[in-house]
């Protein structure tokens, strides 16, 4: 299979053919088995068809004479059909048993030792929570799911509005997130890296722009990240960022977003406490940089029509100070 690494779809950060965890590996093995069995059977059937047409191509223009049969040839034909049925049955059962085995292996991943992460599907972004026994230690973020490598993760998911589906193909199969119903998905990532996932259940206007990233890190890096996320937002240090914070707190932003450490505490939109530590905005749609952030705040409806972020008519200096403040939220 090595040569396939060069073929598009067999490498990359969003393909089930490049598995980086046991869940996706089981699925990929089953896929490979079914693919090779059906490919070989297809080639054999096509070859037999072509050979038999070639053999009798001289009689294509005329009505062929019926082939003479004897008791012996009848018996041979019967035997051939019986063998073909037998082989077909064995192959179908092989595929079915492989599928059962993969499902079982995924379903019996270690439940007890798992790290629980809550994922909520929203139209059209992902809310991610790392619960903790101590309330001040629990973390709320969006669209980027940091996980430690080699640790079993329990994604405890549900939806806040319509049906979404959580799917990071390199890591695990799909799992639908249903409103009013909690569901668990077990996964484990064996290689550090960034793996892209997407909503896999049509959920409205911006379904195609509802992506997330799984960021797999070493346990140390993960702990460091989690400790950083547990902190409240740093107070503004310069007059510009102080004014930016005032703009945030006295305009529409505060109606929907949270910045821990300030009076902004609404949970309608993504938590912005550590916005600057995320690499993308708008659910994986745009890189998180000054220009994109400013454009998004001014008129998100131009970028992602139908999304919940209203256009904001801010003055140039207000906007610059607001973006400068948001960029300090590491």
């Amino acid at each position: 299979m090595m040569f396939l690494a060069a073929v598009p779809g067999f490498s990359g950060d969003q393909t089930s053919l490049n598995p980086v965890g046991p869940g996706a590996s089981h699925i990929e093995h089953t896929f490979a088995l079914i693919f090779w069995i059906t490919a070989v059977v297809y080639i054999i059937v096509m070859a037999v068809l072509v050979i038999s047409i070639w053999r009798r191509h001289h009689s294509l223009d005329t009505m062929p004479d019926p082939q003479p049969t004897s008791a012996e040839s009848d018996q041979r034909a019967q035997r051939m059909v019986a063998v073909a049925i037998g082989v077909t049955t064995v192959l179908l059962f092989t595929m079915m048993i492989s599928s059962f085995a993969a499902s079982r292996a995924i379903a019996t991943m270690n439940y007890e030792q798992a790290l629980t992460i809550h994922v909520f599907g929203h139209e059209w972004w992902w809310e991610v929570q790392y619960p903790s026994d101590q309330a001040w230690k629990s973390v709320v973020t969006a669209n980027e799911i940091h996980v430690p490598v080699g640790v079993t993760i329990r994604i405890h998911g549900t939806s806040r509005d319509v049906i979404h589906s959580f799917w990071a193909p390199n890591v695990q199969g799909k799992r639908d997130l249903l409103p009013g119903y909690d569901t668990d998905l077990m996964l484990k990532v064996d290689q550090p890296g960034r793996y892209r996932g997407q909503c896999a259940e049509y959920c409205g206007e911006q379904h195609a722009h509802m992506a997330f990233y799984i960021v797999a890190q070493s346990q140390d890096d993960f702990n460091h990240w989690l400790q950083g996320q547990q902190k409240s937002a740093p107070p503004p240090a310069t007059p510009q960022t102080l004014h930016g914070q005032q703009v945030f707190l006295t305009h529409a932003c505060v109606m929907c977003h949270t910045i821990r450490g300030t009076t902004a505490g609404s949970r309608v939109g993504p938590d912005l406490t550590h916005l600057a530590s995320r690499t993308t905005i708008a659910a994986g749609m745009l890189p998180n940089n000054t220009a994109n952030l400013a454009g998004w705040i001014l008129n998100a409806q131009n970028i992602k029509p139908g999304c919940r972020m209203p256009p904001n008519g801010l003055s140039g200096s207000d906007l610059q100070d607001l973006v400068a403040y948001l960029e300090t939220l590491q």
Partner: protein, 189 residues
């Protein structure tokens, strides 16, 4: 045969014309996107005091636009939950705040009056949303609030709820007749 084909074709064309989907306006334009502002009549503000801004004047054009769009009314219903109107007015039946699904209107039942109540706030509890939400969202809320007492046509008012329904859908509510909307009030006993 030819007639049958022509008949079929014209029927399909006619049916197709009937399939006009409501056009959703996502970008309300700069004028409607500016933050609604009026002198607050109540010191309570969601999320703290707001920045002073130029007062906005509600336009009648905006009104018809929102009350004729099922999408806008649906957005109003979502915002009614998101901005916690539901916390005091419940799903129209009232509780801490007055009921919105009946014919009783302390500060007037006309759309401009409901707009003013949301933006200015009202004494004894109704917070002022001045400087906090864009004008178009206020109009979406106004349209939804009016649908609660059956003021909007059936095909515009919401037909279902995301939560457990405790009252009939807005679409199925009987139309209330507030006092201030009756022209011939004197004719009534």
């Amino acid at each position: 045969m030819r007639y049958a084909l022509a008949l079929l074709l014209s029927t399909v064309l006619l049916l197709n014309a009937g399939c006009k989907r409501e056009h959703r306006v996502f970008d309300p334009g700069a004028a409607q996107a500016s933050v609604a502002y009026a002198a607050p009549l109540d010191p309570v503000h969601p999320g703290g005091p707001s920045a002073p801004a130029a007062p906005s004047i509600p336009s009648a054009r905006a009104l018809s636009q929102y009350e004729q769009s099922a999408y806008a009314v649906g957005e109003g219903k979502r915002l009614y939950m998101a901005f916690n109107c539901v916390g005091c007015h419940q799903h129209g039946g009232g509780g801490i705040g007055p009921a919105l699904m009946d014919a009783q209107w302390i500060y007037g039942s006309h759309p401009e009056q409901i707009y003013a109540s949301i933006v200015e706030g009202r004494p004894n509890g109704m917070p002022s949303f001045a400087g906090k939400i864009p004008e178009y969202q206020v109009w979406e809320l106004v349209a939804y609030v009016r649908s609660m007492s059956g003021q909007l046509p059936e095909d515009i008012a919401p037909s279902r709820s995301d939560e457990m329904p405790v009252v009939k859908a807005e679409q199925a509510r009987p139309k209330e007749h507030p006092q201030d909307q009756q022209k011939d009030r004197k004719a009534q006993p």
